[in-house]
Structure formats: C-alpha cells, structure tokens
C-alpha cells in the first residue's frame, strides 16, 4: 500500500471498494455542501434584516431627537425675542434665528449625505462580498464535481481502485485548500470600509466645525446689538477655551 494512502487512514477494503461506493457521495459530499449553502443564505437574509431594522430604528431616533432639539431651540428663540426692546434688537433676534436655521439646515444636509454615502458603502461592501463568496463557492462545487467525474471516469476506465481513490482524495483536498485561500482573500475585503469611515468622519467633522463657526458668528452679531463690546470678549474666551 502506498504511504500516502496510509496517511489518509483508509483501509485496504476501503480502497478496493472505492469504485463501488459512488452512491455515498450524495450524502457525504453533495448534500452537506447544499446544506451549507442554505445556511449561508439564511445568514445573509438575517444580516439584511438586522441592517434594515437598525437603520430604520436609527432614522426614527434621529428624527425624534432632531424634533426634540428643534422644539427646544424654538423656546430659546422665543425667550430671546422677549428680551428685544426695540426694532434693532428685534431685527438682531430675527437675524440670529435666520442664521442659526441656515447653519442647522446646512449641517443636517451634510450629515444626511455622509450617512447616506456610508450606507451605500456598506451595501456595496456586502454586495462585493456576496459576489466573491458566490464565486468561491461555485469554484469549490465545480472542483468537487470535477473530482467526482474524474473518479467515475477512472473507475470506468479500469484504473486501479486505490489509485482512483487517491486521485479523488487529492482533488477534494485541493478544492478545500483553494476555497480556504479564496475565503482568506474575501475576509480582506472588509478592510475596504475603513477608508470610507475615515472619509465620511472627516466630512462630518468639517460640517460640525463649519456649523460651530456659523453659530459663533451669529452669536457675535447678536451680542453686538444686545451687549455692545461683549462680543470681542466672548471671542477671546472661546479662543482660550478652544471651543470654537
């Protein structure tokens, strides 16, 4: 018996009977592969469901939070308006309110765009992964089918059963190793999302910084009317605190 066959742990009987046991392949190879494909599909559906649910949940909570803060903002605006004693001050409040609303609309648009772009990036990463996995699984199945066909052909051609078996085992092992290599490459695709996170995070940081700058200016303009001279002090305080 060849050493390689011994290494596979197959008895002489097993090797001799190899060409008479094609019927086992369905339960030992083909069906388990089909079962795993079904499990993979189920997990994908599960992932899609989770993703959809989480996005919906977040969208609702963002809307709720924004509404809550909007109501609070209106209360602040109303209180500021109560302080206005003359037309100049009323105009200052109106200008402040208008400036804040523009700044908020700009910030929300930037954040919404960043979130949308990020979601598209996640969807693309998932789609790319699915394509790559499907290709790898198909290649794996093709390799297994080819191994089965070759084994049958070898047996039909009267090739020694042990040799046919050894070729078959080697082919299946190669199919597994190829799939493993493909799988490792597929896992690397996840890294493609990192630059997207950094890009979108930078866009959000900029949107918030622009927002803060706009609000700071609106505040200074307001104070120039209500508390003349104090706006310069505020600016210095903000610079000292690094809060701008």
């Amino acid at each position: 018996m060849p050493v390689s066959s011994l290494a596979q742990g197959a008895s002489n009987d097993t090797q001799r009977n190899f060409c008479n046991r094609f019927s086992e392949w369905n339960t030992k190879i083909d069906r388990p592969i089909a079962d795993r494909e079904a499990k993979l599909e189920a997990r994908r559906a599960d992932r899609l469901e989770k993703l959809t649910e989480k996005r919906k949940d977040r969208d609702e909570k963002i809307a709720e939070n924004r509404e809550r803060w909007s109501e609070n903002r209106d209360e602040h605006f109303a209180k500021l308006n109560e302080r206005a004693q003359n037309d100049e001050q009323r105009q200052a409040v109106a200008d402040f309110v208008a400036a804040v609303k523009v700044a908020i609309a700009t910030r929300k648009a930037a954040i919404n765009a960043a979130i949308q772009a990020f979601r598209q990036g996640i969807d693309k990463a998932i789609a790319d992964r699915k394509t790559a996995v499907d290709d790898a699984v198909q290649s794996f199945k093709d390799a297994v089918s080819a191994a089965e066909a070759k084994a049958k052909a070898d047996c039909d051609a009267g090739i020694d059963s042990a040799t046919a078996r050894q070729n078959f085992v080697n082919s299946l092992k190669a199919a597994k190793e190829q799939f493993k290599a493909d799988r490792q490459e597929i896992e690397k695709l996840k890294d493609a999302i990192k630059p997207l996170i950094d890009t979108r995070k930078a866009a959000i940081d900029k949107a918030i910084q622009d927002f803060k700058t706009a609000i700071k200016k609106a505040k200074a303009d307001f104070k120039a009317v209500f508390e003349p001279g104090s706006e310069d002090k505020d600016e210095n305080d903000d610079d000292d605190n690094g809060s701008s």
């Binding site: 994908r44 992932r47 649910e53 977040r58 963002i62 609070n72 990463a125 992964r129 999302i193 307001f222």
Partner: protein, 103 residues
C-alpha cells in the same frame, strides 16, 4: 487534605471566572448584532436639551449641543461595518462540508 480541596476549588473558580468573562463578551457583542439584549444605539443621545432662559450664551450652548445628536448618529452607523462579516462562520463551514479521508 487542604491541597486536595484547594486545587479543585481553584480550578472551579478559574472556570467560573472564564465562563463569566466569556458570557460578558458574548453578550456585549450579541447586543449590538441583534442576537440578544437591547440595541445600545443612541444611549448618549438622550441628553436633555437645556431649558430656555433668554440668555444668548445658554441658547448658543444648547444649539451647539444639538450637533452631538448628528455626530453620534454617524458613530452608530459605523457599527454596521461589523455586520459585513456576519456570515464569516457560514463561509468558513464550507471547509468542513466533507471529510475526504472517509472515501
């Protein structure tokens, strides 16, 4: 006698600590991936907006705090990246579809 008791007791305590740590890690992971527990999203966003007083500094502080809502909304989105590899185990399982040495 003491050694006969202390050695198994030590092993038992270590096993319990390990199980507890595993459970905590599993629960924290599962709570985000949706396999159990509540979604941890937006916990920080329950910050109550400050009451209006008519003071411009207070109003501006409130308006600036509001931007945290959007900032944190994106941070929650980023966690979705963890879902990309949710099928890793199922993909890996293809390697164990069959044992070629049994033929």
């Amino acid at each position: 006698m003491n050694k006969k008791i202390s050695t198994p007791l030590g092993i038992l305590i270590l096993a319990l600590v390990f199980l507890l740590a595993s459970y905590i890690i599993f629960y924290m992971k599962a709570s985000y991936l949706g396999d159990g527990g509540a979604d941890m999203s937006f916990q920080k966003q329950s910050v109550t907006p400050p009451a209006a007083t008519g003071d411009i500094d207070g109003a501006v502080d409130a308006i600036l705090q509001e931007s945290l809502v959007d900032e944190e909304a994106f941070d929650m989105e980023v966690l979705d990246a963890g879902l990309i590899g949710l099928d890793s185990q199922e993909i890996s399982d293809f390697d164990q579809s069959f044992n070629e040495t049994t033929f």
